[in-house]
Symmetry: C2
Subunit: 239 residues, 2 copies
């Protein structure tokens, strides 16, 4: 039963606050991609906070290597960071190491402070259901530029999650950012208004924006089940 929601508009500069349950949102695109990978049957997603570490982890484990630098997959990567392009045949039963500019770093940092999941529009109802078992919920936007800048698409999804939780838990305690989240009607429409959406369009990745804007494509909650220095392993949370 949720009593309190804190919403971080940017990842913390220092260590993350400890909470009962943290949801990391990088709507365009890392947490959406993590949902798509597990939703299409990947066994685990290993989020890495560094490109070279991602390459090493994938090689050691015989895992697929996925992700982006400046929006596109670096040379030698098996997959990009495109949730709309995830192909069940390619990922089913596989481990996938994922490295991205903002989201995978935030997942690694968040999981150092407690139970953490990847949340997105595409798994919003499932994520809210998982979060609703905690007393104190933290929802964190991964942001832009390595977490230094606010990203509207992350706020849009975070606001949608706050609205789902607040509807089911009347009288819940909201911090100022979560309170602001209640003020924005139909927040998911703002995903496509974000500056980063225009950048992705320019790269020919408009399908990912549409993919990331629609709620509840997947009934999966990517939960951190193991972690080490610079990596966090996500697997589907038990229903």
């Amino acid at each position: 039963m949720v009593r309190e929601i804190r919403l971080l508009l940017l990842p913390p500069a220092g260590p993350w606050p400890r909470t009962g349950a943290a949801a990391v949102v990088d709507a365009l695109r890392a947490t959406t991609t993590a949902c798509a990978l597990l939703g299409h049957g990947a066994r685990a997603v290993i989020a890495a906070d560094d490109e070279q570490r991602a390459r090493r982890l994938a090689a050691e484990r015989g895992a697929l290597l996925a992700g982006e630098v400046r929006g596109l997959p670096p040379p030698g990567f098996d997959l990009g960071n495109s949730p709309a392009a995830v192909d069940r045949a390619a990922v089913e039963g596989r481990e996938v190491v994922l490295f991205t500019t903002n989201g995978t770093k935030a997942l690694c940092a968040a999981s150092a402070a407690g139970a953490a999941i990847a949340a997105a529009a595409v798994n919003a109802a499932a994520a809210a259901r998982w979060l609703s078992h905690a007393d104190e919920v933290l929802i964190a936007c991964a942001g832009e530029a390595g977490g230094a800048a606010f990203a509207l698409e992350d706020f849009a999804v975070a606001a949608y999650l706050v609205q789902l939780l607040a509807r089911d838990h009347p009288g819940i305690d909201l911090d100022d950012a979560a309170r602001l989240a209640l003020e924005v009607p139909a927040p998911l429409r703002l995903v496509r208004e974000a500056r980063h959406a225009r950048d992705l369009e320019a790269l020919g990745l408009a399908a990912d924006i549409e993919f990331a804007s629609r709620a509840d494509r997947f009934d999966v909650v990517p939960l951190v089940t193991d972690r080490g220095a610079g990596w966090a392993r996500l697997e589907p949370a038990p229903a």
Copy 2:
């Protein structure tokens, strides 16, 4: 003619970005108080980033000493940080050194990066008029906890300023936070919804919340006209 607005939901952790014109908002209460002091005839407000520095500056200059620590004036201060309590008879023609937990620090930091003003609901139209002469406008929320946490009251006033500027400058380029500011109808009503407003009520300072929520009480723009290490001098900008 404004071409671009950037909105900082929190003060930068490092140096401030350079822009044509920066407006710092600490609605409850430092920038509202700066407006009230100059609006009631104080000659200058000297924002200090440290309590001991504020005490020294006031003693050296024979200035009034105003401000708060945990909401209330420390021993030896002439005035608190209460905009509703500013008395023209006490401040007219005087210099006032102001130290507060968040706002005066943000004013000192912002003015190191370029032209900076103090903005609040109480001088919103005058502040927007002043900002509208710049190409690139930065509006920065001072936040809570020394700038570490988002403050809804600062966003409310910043959003009101963005809306004033966007109305008068169609086609203006907005960053993601400024874009979000357009989504909140009648933002000044949110000043009283902020967590800090409840803290002030508990201290018996509810009059300041009402004072800080109403637009355009003063036609004054507190502009940084001089600065040094840890202080910034604000005087009414020429009309």
